[in-house]
Symmetry: C2
């Protein structure tokens, strides 16, 4: 009897927060790989804010997930059957395998995880797309110089946590914005941020002014909304604002709040630049190698927030938008073995 | 008996549109230049949107005009008395001489107008700060390549008119946004824009989509507000948005309208960069020389909208914000002789 593949399939496009009702939890027999393909048994599924955007119709940097299609997600799994000579049974691989238990792949955009003693979830976080986003967004778009003041929103989040640590490695002063005392303690004590600002309890503008007496040289924004506006109000001359995401705006049912302080770009001859990590795909290997070195040297800490059970996916995913995750959020779908 | 200098002195900081009551129209005896100084009899005063910003208190790229101080303005005049060996009586000069009939200067940031047969008002427009703004903002910040689609807001304005013409000289396709049929005709017939969009009568988003089937590569924004948002919605990949000004927002009594479509920067890996022309002061000479060549060759047309009479300054200045000027707005204060 064929094994069963459980999966979440997009049922409807959400208005506001994505809820369980926006997907169908269904099953089908596990497919057999055709020539050139292989079958992956998924172990960890990465839950990322960007997934909310993929559920919307309309033009974006990637086509939307179609109604009836398996929900798109990055994941890590083990090759359990292969008709592709480049991938052997037993290989651990990452790719856009979706919110399901098994995936068929032809190897496109799939990476092998090297056996270097780093825990597997880290390859979906610090050494995965999250880490690549932090690495290229900060270094290639933000272009920090030693001594610069780098401010990061969503600083306790998966991307923001890595950004702050890379900025420290590069000799910058780092200020992280996060929600609540636990996250603020985490980013200072575990991630090495110089200053944490709790946007839930502090006057953000005043706190940023106090934390950045010479202004902000690089602002790495994962959040948007009021936080982006507050940071724009404190830019140093020729500051670089990296627009990586806007989690505060993804579930809006009203229009996105544009940054009213955008004319600070003019006053300060500053720039605001959007980035999508896919543009650096050719350099992922180089970045992953450097970052794996930092992880091995204990310079780059990676906290993963792993939840169990594929069937819990919708509720675990919601945690991202309530800021309830502690580090890189992911689902564990089966044992590593 | 000493000659009298009439002048407009800042009386109060405006809320919303600047009105006559925000200045005092006063007079004082014409001062005598001290050693190293010279006296300028002002002929033309440049009226620019940026002047509205200089009337506001608070941190900006330049200190605000103080209450009781002569209103800051760029102007062109003739040296009528000199104790500075670098400036001789009869020299025609431009500088920040203010809204008055006579100014004392020590020569700092003052430029001599060469006798090359170009009408004097052009040195406050196309060959003045307006033209420098267009030149460096487009070429150095916008970085257009031949074949790019360049969209300009305020395209019939002093800066926008020059931007479109330089973009054509550089081999770009140009789309100008202006208000009303007369301005739209002007920018196509006199300034050579490929397409004009009348934001007052057309659906701006649809018209931009139709005019830019491959998207906008460079958006040069003088206006802000809804026009900036519409343009952000049509960016091509790796587009460059130049924030030169935001005339739609300068008289706001409510907060500035931030660009709700700013996440288009992310989707399109685009950038939005503010510019202040002063940063290129060392290269004004080089730019003026190249632009004077274009003027002489008939490639760069310069329409000046000259009004007579210093005492009319407040009402003429208001025309800028109602879009009633036709080309570079200026006041003529005395005859050229």
């Amino acid at each position: 009897m064929a094994e069963i593949n459980h999966k979440f399939v997009l049922a409807s496009r959400p208005v506001g927060m994505a809820r369980r009702g926006n997907w169908n939890y269904t099953e089908s027999p596990v497919a057999a790989p055709a020539d050139g393909e292989f079958l992956v048994k998924i172990i960890y599924i990465s839950l990322d804010p960007a997934m909310r955007g993929w559920m919307n119709d309309g033009r974006s940097y990637i086509p939307p997930v179609a109604i009836g299609e398996v929900m798109r997600a990055l994941a890590l799994g083990r090759v359990v059957e292969s008709k592709n000579p480049k991938f052997a049974v037993g290989d651990i691989v990452t790719g856009a395998f979706g919110v399901q238990e098994y995936a068929i792949s032809n190897g496109m955009m799939v990476n092998k995880v090297p056996p270097i003693g780093i825990p597997l979830p880290v390859f979906l976080g610090t050494l995965g797309m999250t880490g690549m986003t932090a690495y290229f967004g900060l270094l290639e778009v933000g272009k920090p110089k030693a001594g610069d003041t780098v401010v990061v929103s969503g600083a306790a989040g998966a991307t923001g946590g890595v950004v702050g640590q890379i900025a420290k490695i590069k000799g910058c002063r780092t200020v992280g914005i996060a929600g609540g005392p636990a996250k603020c303690e985490y980013i200072v004590k575990e991630l090495g941020y110089d200053v944490a600002i709790d946007y839930k309890s502090e006057d953000l503008r005043k706190a940023l002014g106090a934390a950045c007496p010479k202004g902000i040289d690089v602002f790495f924004d994962n959040v948007g909304g009021e936080i982006l506006d507050a940071a724009l109000g404190q830019l140093a001359m020729r500051a670089r604002v990296v627009i990586c995401g806007a989690i505060s705006q993804y579930n809006n049912t009203t229009p996105v709040k544009g940054p009213a302080n955008y004319l600070s770009l003019l006053v300060n001859r500053a720039s605001m630049t959007g980035m999508i990590v896919f543009d650096w795909a050719e350099r992922y290997g180089e970045a992953a190698k450097e970052m794996a070195g930092w992880v091995a040297q204990g310079k780059l800490h990676a906290r993963c927030d792993v939840h169990e059970g594929l069937h819990n996916y919708p509720e675990v995913f919601e945690k991202l938008f309530r800021g309830e995750n502690n580090g890189k959020l992911m689902l564990k779908v089966c044992d590593e073995k």
